[in-house]
């Protein structure tokens, strides 16, 4: 069943269109940077954009930082919000369940398919960022040292595994979005409502993060540690926020998956 759900997801033209759109923004940014050489001053604007002017390889990470706050969560919420509600709206949910596909199995399959989408989307964005960066921006040899966010220089080997960890971290951050959207997808029969609901949670979280009065809540907000993967490029690595981020995302994933299962397993399917 997992194979079938993944196959269904990646056979939809919409899935690939979403990934293509995700790639479009970093590509546009790279073209603009290459044409103008006007990077933001260090410390302002999206992370790494000042660094990529001299080293295009870093654009893989910069691309992730560009899509992470908004584009990527939208894409994930749309795909995961469609998981159950989309089948319900299309009238195919009842036929899947009487096939029969067990409700728990269907939910797990949908979950894995959504996670596969997250992984593919993040990897494609990072890969595109790397290629676009190499082609358009600073073409230092791959063996050259890179200046870390802290100012010291990092060897290519150090950079490679830090990039790998940050890709993993971004995937994990998006899994909590997928879990929230999947839960909402079992609540409603409208995929649009589920996706927008998940986005509302994220927007709400971002708003509270800017508010001093919400200080006590901030460590528990889902988006709080999203951009902490930048800490991986400090020297030495600042693990504190990354660790907290991982723990927080895992809690969100666990809670919302449990809620999705509890709701879906005993739900009357009337569509």
């Amino acid at each position: 069943m997992i194979g079938i759900e993944v196959y269904k997801l990646f056979r939809r033209p919409r899935t690939w269109l979403t990934i293509a759109l995700l790639d479009a923004l970093p590509t546009v940014v790279a073209i603009l940077l290459a044409a103008t050489h006007l990077g933001p001053r260090p410390g302002t604007g999206p992370a790494f954009l000042s660094a990529v002017l001299s080293n295009g390889s870093l654009f893989a990470v910069a691309a992730l930082a560009i899509v992470l706050p908004l584009f990527l969560p939208i894409a994930v919420a749309v795909i995961a919000g469609d998981a159950i509600a989309g089948e319900a709206q299309g009238g195919t949910l009842r036929y899947l369940l009487i096939r029969p596909v067990g409700r728990t199995r269907l939910l797990v399959a949908k979950l894995v398919a959504s996670f596969a989408f997250v992984a593919v989307a993040v990897l494609v964005v990072a890969g595109t960022g790397f290629v676009v960066g190499r082609l358009l921006l600073g073409q230092q040899p791959l063996s050259a040292a890179v200046t870390s966010v802290s100012g010291s220089s990092l060897t290519p080997a150090q950079i490679s595994w830090r990039v790998a960890i940050s890709i993993g971290y971004v995937v994990l951050s998006m899994l909590s979005v997928a879990a929230i959207a999947l839960f909402l997808s079992t609540l409603t029969d409208s995929p649009l409502t589920a996706s927008l609901g998940a986005l509302a949670v994220l927007v709400g979280s971002s708003v509270l993060l800017t508010l001093d009065a919400a200080h006590a809540l901030q460590p528990y907000l889902p988006t709080r540690y999203w951009l902490s993967f930048i800490d991986l490029f400090r020297d030495p690595i600042l693990w504190r926020n990354v660790e907290r981020g991982v723990a927080l995302q895992l809690v969100y994933v666990a809670v919302f998956l449990a809620a999705a299962w509890a709701n879906f397993a005993s739900k009357d399917v009337t569509t």
Binding site: I98, P100, T270
Partner: protein, 305 residues
């Protein structure tokens, strides 16, 4: 095949299905009649484990539902409230996908399954539809595709909810012939419908649902018993009416309704007396009249209290 006892479903304060005791036997074509909103679809959904009953028990193919869903559902085929398919895929791709989901152990080899898909497509008359996406299908074609999906596993029991919805008269006839063929081959059919004529032409047993309650469950023949009257047509209608005044129920033009225990005897009697008879027929209760007599107003009609 299907047995329910005290089956009840409440949505809030509304009793959508109320104490229903269904009894569908092997070999039946069971017509499940009821007006729109009388609870037919909710009952069908409960039989299939989609909606969970508030109280009461369900047995399908001899096993309790929804507990034994895993072993019951692979043995039946169903069409519930219209077909469902992925619009961007072709009908064939939809069936292959439908076949591939679900219980792995129940599947044959790949070639055998593909052959079966082509077989059911031919059976429902979609064999030549090619790679057109379902999005571009007409309502009738979608209905046929839904039926094909239900037939995919050669089920022992077919549960069909309004199977002829959206079909034209030729299509309805075709589907009726298909169902009769399947029935002859040993498939039990549970057919839910609000079309009395459809049920009358097809079914052997009938259950009538009215506002959530099962008010009749009987052999179709029992519901169509003779009324003890004879309808006849004659150019001598006026003369017959005066001669048989004691047995006359009604007369309109050259059509008469007379009470008669035996139609043949009445016919001989009339002919002996020299009346010309152009038409003579035993009057039977129509299913429609029986159902209308027993049920209340349409359930989708809501009057002021």
């Amino acid at each position: 095949m299907i047995t329910t006892a005290g089956l009840t479903k409440r949505f809030g304060s509304l009793r959508a299905v109320d104490q229903v005791d269904l009894d569908v036997r092997a070999g039946d074509i069971y017509g499940f009649l009821g007006a729109n909103g009388s609870g037919k679809t909710t009952t069908v959904r409960m039989l299939l484990g989609l909606v969970l009953a508030t109280s009461g028990s369900i047995e399908v193919l001899g096993q309790p539902m929804p507990k034994a869903a895993g072993s019951v559902l692979p043995r039946l085929g169903a069409l519930v409230e219209g077909p469902g398919a992925y619009g961007h895929l072709s009908g064939r791709a939809n069936l292959l996908l439908h076949d591939a989901s679900g219980n792995r152990s129940a599947r044959g080899d790949r070639a055998g399954r593909a052959r079966r898909v082509d077989e059911v497509l031919d059976e429902v008359g979609l064999g030549g539809v090619g790679r057109r996406p379902v999005r571009a299908y007409s309502l009738g074609m979608r209905q046929r595709l839904g039926l094909a999906a239900a037939l995919l596993r050669e089920p022992e029991l077919l549960i069909l909810d309004e199977p002829t919805n959206g079909l034209d008269p030729q299509g309805i006839g075709e589907i009726r012939r298909l169902l009769l063929k399947l029935h002859a081959a040993g498939t039990t059919i549970f057919l839910s419908s609000h079309l009395l004529a459809e049920v009358e032409q097809l079914c052997t047993r009938v259950g009538v649902l009215d506002r959530g309650r099962l008010i009749v469950q009987a052999e179709l023949a029992e519901l169509q018993e003779p009324t003890g009257r004879v309808v006849l047509r004659s150019p001598d209608a006026a003369a017959i009416a005066s001669e048989f005044a004691g047995r006359l129920i009604s007369r309109s033009g050259d059509e008469l309704v007379l009470t008669a225990a035996d139609a043949a005897e009445l016919n001989t009697d009339l002919v002996r007396r020299g009346f010309r008879i152009s038409e003579l027929m035993l009057q039977r209760q129509s299913l429609e009249q029986t159902v209308l007599d027993m049920t209340g107003p349409s359930a989708d009609r809501v009057d002021r209290p």
